[in-house]
């Protein structure tokens, strides 16, 4: 916040100096917009700056567009910061893009970039809220992509791979957890799977994603058995066993990736014990029981 105030102050001073040589009428309007911005009345500055960017004398000046971006930003902050779709935010972004296209000096370019980073952060927060609180993966991913797009506009050399992994692991975790609690929620399963597959594209041995995928299959098998009625006939038991063996083997391949990377990972050791128990593999079950004991992992 303080940083933004500092930027605003500097921007205003620079603008005052910068526009001194321009046409007086438009300078007046720009000055007025500046003063109103400084006076924290951006709503009053808005009509003035909108007139400035339409005027032939000032519309090709990046200063006008950056000023407009800052004025709209102040209005946006009050009302639309948490909205995924915001006309004010769109105006800020288009104003910055226009300013950048008009080749501003370094100071203005930096100010534009700082504003873009702030907007990117807002998108990030929206993505997080939509994922955690609203469980809306589509809108969350939309916000995350916008966050990324703006950040890259400000800092084109940024490598987003680590952040993409972090984001998609979070999506996968949220939705695999939903699926683990309700195996009938195939939509959650699919969302989690797609998110994890995106992670595997970027980092095939990513531990949390492999763990999540493995646990999804393991818990799916467990829930299948849990739902089995005691009165089920022998053919039903056979069918269930057929399915749980498949699920346990699918789970095993993901969990083993985690275990091979870190053979003291308690969750992996614990999960492998349960997997081998499900697979009726007494030797491996015993191996992981011993390992669990060594690592003080509580089983059953």
């Amino acid at each position: 916040m303080n940083r933004l105030r500092f930027i605003l102050k500097n921007l205003c001073l620079t603008l005052l100096l910068g526009v001194a040589a321009g046409g007086f009428a438009q300078i007046d309007k720009l000055n007025r917009a500046q003063q109103l911005l400084q006076a924290r009345t951006p709503e009053l500055a808005q009509p003035a700056i909108d007139s400035v960017i339409k005027n032939s004398e000032t519309k090709s000046d990046p200063v006008s567009w950056t000023t407009r971006a800052y004025i709209y930003f102040e209005i946006y902050k009050k009302a639309e910061k948490q909205k995924l779709n915001s006309a004010l935010r769109d105006t800020i972004i288009s104003s910055i893009k226009t300013s950048n296209a008009l080749k501003p000096d370094n100071d203005y370019k930096n100010n534009n970039n700082k504003l873009l980073v702030s907007l990117s952060t807002h998108y990030y927060n929206i993505a997080k809220t939509l994922l955690q609180d609203s469980l809306n993966d589509v809108r969350s991913q939309q916000a995350y992509n916008s966050c990324k797009e703006l950040y890259l506009l400000a800092k084109p050399d940024t490598n987003f791979v680590a952040r993409d992994i972090e984001y998609y692991v979070a999506v996968g975790s949220v939705f695999s957890n939903i699926f683990n609690n309700d195996n009938k929620n195939t939509k959650a399963h699919d969302i989690a799977k797609i998110a994890h597959l995106k992670v595997f594209d970027l980092q095939p041995d990513n531990a949390p994603a492999n763990m999540n995928m493995g646990l999804m299959y393991l818990n799916q098998g467990i829930n299948l058995v849990k739902s089995l009625d005691y009165g089920a006939d022998l053919s039903q038991i056979d069918a269930i066993q057929e399915n749980i063996v498949k699920l346990a083997k699918q789970s095993e391949q993901f969990i083993l990736k985690v275990y091979r990377k870190d053979n003291k990972n308690p969750k992996a050791v614990q999960a492998l014990y349960y997997i081998y128990r499900m697979l009726n593999d007494a030797a491996k079950q015993e191996e992981f029981q011993k390992k669990s004991k060594e690592l003080n992992i509580k089983l059953d």
Partner: protein
């Protein structure tokens, strides 16, 4: 700025539910449909006697007992670490840690109308009527009709078709 990892770390625990115990319980309940116990064992509770160590199985069978009956009989689960010949039951399940007792238990229960179930290679050859074994990661069971007859049970031939027969 990027704190999504906090969301990721909060979830995901493997469930410790013992699928094997549940499947064995379902198998055991199934077995009761294919045998006929002598009249003296058709009254009172239907006792499933577990010998050896498997707490999850005992819990699962107690859960089964709270939900199902064998005919009109309530199911009761008894459990001891070693075999107690004074316990009268319809089913004795000898767990792997007491598998060496199969022969002795089988001989002591001859004609008593007790279905002996074990979980050890060759248990049917030692006198068990049913023996669990693992084939391709799945739980299957061997069946010795002659041992069941010796134990005093009336058998159902449909059961032979469902089992791996050892006679």
């Amino acid at each position: 700025m990027f704190l999504f990892c906090l969301i990721s770390l909060r979830f995901q625990q493997p469930s410790n539910f013992d699928t094997n115990a549940k499947i064995k319980a379902v198998f055991l309940y199934n077995f009761t449909r294919y045998f006929e116990w002598p009249d003296k064992k058709k009254t009172g509770n239907f006792i499933v006697y577990i010998v050896g160590k498997n707490d999850n199985l005992v819990t699962e069978l107690k859960n089964l007992a709270s939900k199902k009956k064998v005919g009109t009989q309530d199911i009761e689960v008894k459990h001891t670490a070693t075999f107690d010949p004074t316990v009268s039951s319809q089913i004795i399940y000898l767990l792997p840690d007491v598998s060496s007792a199969v022969k002795d238990v089988a001989s002591k229960n001859k004609s008593k109308g007790t279905l002996l179930v074990a979980e050890n290679a060759g248990a049917c050859k030692s006198g068990s009527s049913i023996n669990f074994l693992v084939i391709e990661n799945k739980l299957k069971f061997e069946y010795s009709k002659s041992n069941a007859v010796k134990a005093g049970l009336k058998t159902n031939d449909d059961f032979k078709a469902l089992a791996i027969n050892v006679d």
